[in-house]
Symmetry: C2
Subunit: 331 residues, 2 copies
C-alpha cells in the first residue's frame, strides 16, 4: 500500500486537520468528538443542516459545510458510521432555534447511529427532522443496507435543501424539499479498480485486468455484475439506462446530470462519460439543464465513476443555482 | 489498460466535447483546429490571456477559461504540445484590441510552437507578449526542457494575471504581474505510481511496490531520485524544503500554499500533505495566508502530489482573491 499518510490509524484526523487549516474561513474542525461546523456558528433563525457518514468519500461531507449547504458534518472512521456521541454535538452546534434537518445515507449503521443521536438531541429540546438518501438503483439490499444505498445523489440533496434553509423555509419545509430531491434522484456506478482502506492495507476486493464491476457501491461492496472492460459509451449506457428507467424519465423533461468520479479517475475521462450519458438523455428527449462533473462522493483512490440524474422543476433548479460557499462547491 | 474512453485516439476530442457541453455557460469548444474560448468572446478593452500545452493535465488549461482567468486555451494531444495552427486562432479569438499575453509552460515543444504562432499573430497585427512558467525546482534540465519545467505554479500565474487583466492593466502591466508571479513561485512533486497515455496503452515508467519518485515532472519524466515509500511528513519535507530554500523564504514572509494532486490521489491524502507542509512553513516563521488543495495540474491517473509555494504581497493576494468564474476555479 502506497498512500500519502503518516500513521494509517490517524488518517482521518490528520486529513481533517489539514482540511481545517486550509479552509479556516469556511469551517471549524473539532477534535473530541470529531465533527466539523460552519465557521462563525449557525445562522440565527435558519434551519440547521447536518450530515455525516464514514470517511473515505471526500469531499463528502465536510467539504460541503458552509454558506448555503451544511451547518455541520460528522466524519466517521474510513467506511465506518460516525458514533452518536459525535453526531449529537454536531446537531447541537447546527441548531439556531429553528430546528435541524439530518441528511443520512441509507446504511444500517448510519441510520441507527443518527437515530440515537436525534433522540438524545430531542431530549435536550432540539427539534429534528431527518431525510434518508437512497439513490443507488444498482441493488435493493446489500452488505450494509436494507433497501437502496445512498450515494452521489447525497450532494444534490445537501445543496438544494441547504438553499431552501437559506431561503427561510421552516423545518417541515426544508425537509419536504429534501424529500422531493430524494424522490427524484437516482444513481449508478462502475468500478475499474478496488480501493484500499488505510488501516487494512490491502485492496477491498479483486478485479481482473480486463474486468469492471457495474453497480458498485461507494465502499466497494458488490454491484450487479462483473463484465469485461468496455468502451465508455457502453459503460455510460449500462449506468444511465437503469437510472433513467427507474426515474421513469419522459420525453420533454429536464434534469441535472452529475458524473461523479470515485477518486482515482482523471477528470478527462469523467467528461467522456458525461458526453456519452448526455447523448443518451438527449436521445430520450430529455434536456440536461444543469451539470456537475468531478470527484464529489469518492471511494478513496478507486478508479470508476457514477452517473446521477435529478429530475428538475423550476423550484429545484432555482435552489440549485442559489449561491453556495463551501470548500468543495462554490458559486 | 482500463480507462473510461472509447477510441483512445479520440480521447482528447471526446473529453473536450463533454467538457464543452457541461460548461456551455463558460466556454466554447472549437473542433478544427482544436481550441477553447471564453463563451461570449473576448471582453472589449481587456488584455486577452491564452495558455495551452499537452492534454492529460486536466483541468489545466481549458478548465481555467472564463471570467477572471484565461480567454482561450489550446489543448494538444496527450503530453504533446499544441501546434501553431491551433494556437493562432486562440490568440486571435482572445484579442479585443488591447493585445494578448500568452502563458507558456517551459517545455521545448510548447515554447517553439507558441513562438511560431505569436509571430503569425503579430504579422496579422495582434500585439502579443509572452511569459514562460518554470516553477519546478526538481531538475535544471530534463527530457523535455532546457531549464526548469513549468508545473502547478502555472495555475497561480493564470489566475493572478487574469485578475490584473480584468482590473484594466495594459499588456505590459499584465505581463509584469505574470512575471512577478513566475519569479516568486516554486514547486516540486512526487509520484507514487506511473500513468498510462491512452494511445500508448502501458505505463510510462515502472515504480516498485515500495518506491516513490521525488521530483517527478507532470509527464512522468524522471525526478531527482527514487526513494523508499515514506510517511507523509517526510515526503512533505522532501518537497517543501527545496521549494522554500530555492525561494529564499525568510521568517515573517507570507505565502500561498498549493497542494496539487496528480489525478489519482484521494483528496483526503492531499489534505494530510497540506497539513504537513504548512507545519514546516510555520516552523520557518512563514505565514500561509492563502491555500489551494485539489487536482489542478494532473498527470492522467498518476498517484502523487506536488507542493507549490507563492510568495505573496498585498497586490498579489488581492489579485488572487478577485472573482473568478471558470469550470475548475470559481469564487
Amino acid at each position: 500500500m502506497k498512500k500519502l499518510l503518516d500513521d494509517p490509524a490517524d488518517a482521518v484526523v490528520d486529513s481533517l486537520t489539514g482540511f481545517g487549516l486550509a479552509h479556516a474561513d469556511v469551517v471549524e474542525v473539532h477534535a473530541d468528538p470529531v465533527h466539523v461546523t460552519r465557521a462563525g456558528g449557525p445562522v440565527a433563525g435558519k434551519v440547521g443542516l447536518v450530515s455525516g457518514g464514514g470517511s473515505g468519500h471526500e469531499p463528502l461531507h465536510a467539504g460541503f459545510v458552509g454558506d448555503g449547504m451544511l451547518d455541520a458534518a460528522v466524519p466517521g472512521a474510513v467506511f465506518t458510521s460516525p458514533t452518536p456521541d459525535q453526531i449529537l454535538p454536531a446537531i447541537q452546534a447546527a441548531d439556531a432555534g429553528a430546528g435541524v434537518l439530518t441528511i443520512v445515507k441509507n446504511y444500517t449503521g448510519d441510520v441507527l447511529n443518527f437515530e440515537t443521536a436525534v433522540e438524545l438531541a430531542e431530549a435536550e429540546g432540539v427539534e429534528v427532522a431527518s431525510v434518508l438518501v437512497n439513490d443507488d438503483v444498482a441493488v435493493e439490499d446489500s452488505l450494509y443496507t436494507a433497501g437502496r444505498r445512498g450515494v452521489a445523489g447525497t450532494v444534490l440533496v445537501e445543496k438544494i435543501a441547504g438553499a431552501a434553509a437559506v431561503r427561510g423555509d421552516d423545518l417541515a419545509g426544508v425537509a419536504a424539499v429534501a424529500e422531493r430531491v430524494v424522490a427524484n434522484v437516482r444513481s449508478m456506478g462502475v468500478a475499474l479498480t478496488a480501493c484500499t482502506v488505510p488501516h487494512v492495507g490491502r485492496p477491498s476486493f479483486d478485479l481482473g485486468e480486463d474486468e469492471v464491476e457495474i453497480g458498485i457501491g461507494i465502499h466497494g461492496e458488490p454491484g450487479r455484475h462483473r463484465v469485461a472492460m468496455a468502451p465508455a459509451a457502453e459503460i455510460a449506457r449500462s449506468l444511465l439506462d437503469p437510472v433513467a428507467d427507474d426515474l421513469g424519465l419522459a420525453d420533454g423533461e429536464r434534469v441535472l446530470l452529475l458524473v461523479n468520479g470515485m477518486g482515482g479517475t482523471p477528470l478527462s475521462e469523467l467528461y467522456v462519460v458525461y458526453g456519452r450519458a448526455r447523448r443518451l438523455l438527449t436521445e430520450r428527449g430529455v434536456t440536461v439543464s444543469r451539470s456537475l462533473v468531478g470527484n464529489y462522493v469518492t471511494s478513496l483512490e478507486m478508479q470508476g465513476a457514477s452517473v446521477t440524474v435529478l429530475r428538475l422543476d423550476d423550484e429545484l433548479q432555482e435552489l440549485w443555482d442559489a449561491p453556495v460557499r463551501t470548500a468543495a462547491l462554490h458559486w
